[in-house]
Symmetry: C5
Subunit: 121 residues, 5 copies
């Protein structure tokens, strides 16, 4: 999965019916811009996990959905606390943004209060 930063929503009025009304986001992947279906409700500045390949389809809402890139998670802390990139405040493409769970200490797989807020597709 790629680590991308959400830049802004993308509006495409004239699109195939199969796309339904799902939200599209412009995301920055290194130095290129891509479009991803947003399955979690991210906002500009969020660092997100984007899945591609055939997995992107079902992650967007159904096996037949026409997506090849879908946002499946918002990263709690990026760049990670204590990493070089974090200290240099470079943080890749656009300005460093931090995900919703901003407390610096407790990074645990179990999650923090308010976990699993991501809506389904």
């Amino acid at each position: 999965m790629k680590i991308c930063q959400v830049e802004r929503p993308l509006v495409s009025t004239n699109r195939i019916a199969m796309m339904e009304h799902k939200h599209l986001q412009v995301v920055i992947d290194g130095s290129s811009k891509l479009v991803a279906v947003d399955a979690v409700g991210a906002k500009p500045g969020d660092w997100v996990i984007c899945v591609g390949s055939s997995a992107a389809r079902e992650a967007a809402g159904s096996k037949g959905y026409p997506s090849d890139l879908t946002i499946v998670g918002i990263i709690d802390h990026w760049p990670p606390p204590g990493s070089e990139t974090d200290e240099a405040a470079a943080g890749g493409g656009a300005d460093s943004g931090e995900g919703p769970a901003a407390s610096s200490g407790a990074d645990s797989a179990g999650g923090e209060p308010g976990a699993d807020k991501a809506g389904g597709a």
Copy 2:
């Protein structure tokens, strides 16, 4: 999904029967040229959303269609109003073209008059 600009139609008389008579467009992806099946009726200069992977097949018209890149939407405004690229009028590969909905204000997911004009495949 990639953000590409349509350059021109591609003519290939000698092609496998599975491709039927669907229109092919040469699109510019950064600095390389690709060929995409056109599922929306784009024209040269349009900025479009192109889906790849297995999703491109069904988006082109049927689960078995032999496409790995399909135009699924025309972007309303590209580059987006107020972005650096917009002000610099650089706009990527070829000349900046703007999609059909040229009014600068109302960018909304709901769409503008004349929405959903994209034909199916």
Copy 3:
């Protein structure tokens, strides 16, 4: 789909049985060389359309065929008449070759005499 130029046939005597006896071509994609199953009968110098991903399999002849790149069409004119590349006679990787339908005028989706000559796989 990629726009590639056919360089030469590729001979691989020691190959898995699933590949049957289908012809393989070395094709030039920008600056790299790839191998594609030839589903149309192209010759060295031809500019061709190559499909990848899961679509390459069925395009090569059957859903289970082990291909990830298949030549599905020969481009009528490449580079296109009137384009910069055409005037500069650069034409990418190897020497510019032109597809079978060499008349410069009538580029139409409907095709020219002798259309749909591509055999199936």
Copy 4:
């Protein structure tokens, strides 16, 4: 499959339910960072084999799992003993780490004691 080095775990509290509670790792692939589902229990510094494409889904635990990159094995010795990279102690991206089976001699397909410790997904 790619040869990557595990950098650290990735925490994403706000993620789609389909991802369940599987562990994610940030891995270094050359000069870029990716996120992979960990199906073997790797630790930071391990050199691992990562599978992508549709294979990543089932390797992560089920046919429908939304992964496009899954760690499927830990490499016994990387860089391999006696290779240039090994002597130069360059070893790619981050510091060279060696997989669990650190004895320098017996590289055999049959495995060493403690083989097949990888749990399923």
Copy 5:
């Protein structure tokens, strides 16, 4: 399909059960190293054809096999006789190796004696 050169076998003792005991090879693709399942029995120095995408799975032995890159053929002559690369003896990544059928003349699709020696997976 990619044209790669086999560098050496890869040993990974700690790997998911789905991978069974199939042989893995480190292959050189241009300037990067990848891991491929070996379905033909190649040896270091061989120039091989590697298939990716969903085709790699069945080519490795079964529809569900977790591979995204599988060696499906050994190239008879690489670089091809008479090509620039052949005369310059550059031959890409590592030293130029030639496939099993070393006679310079008879390159034919029909194959040479001892054809189809590749075992199934």
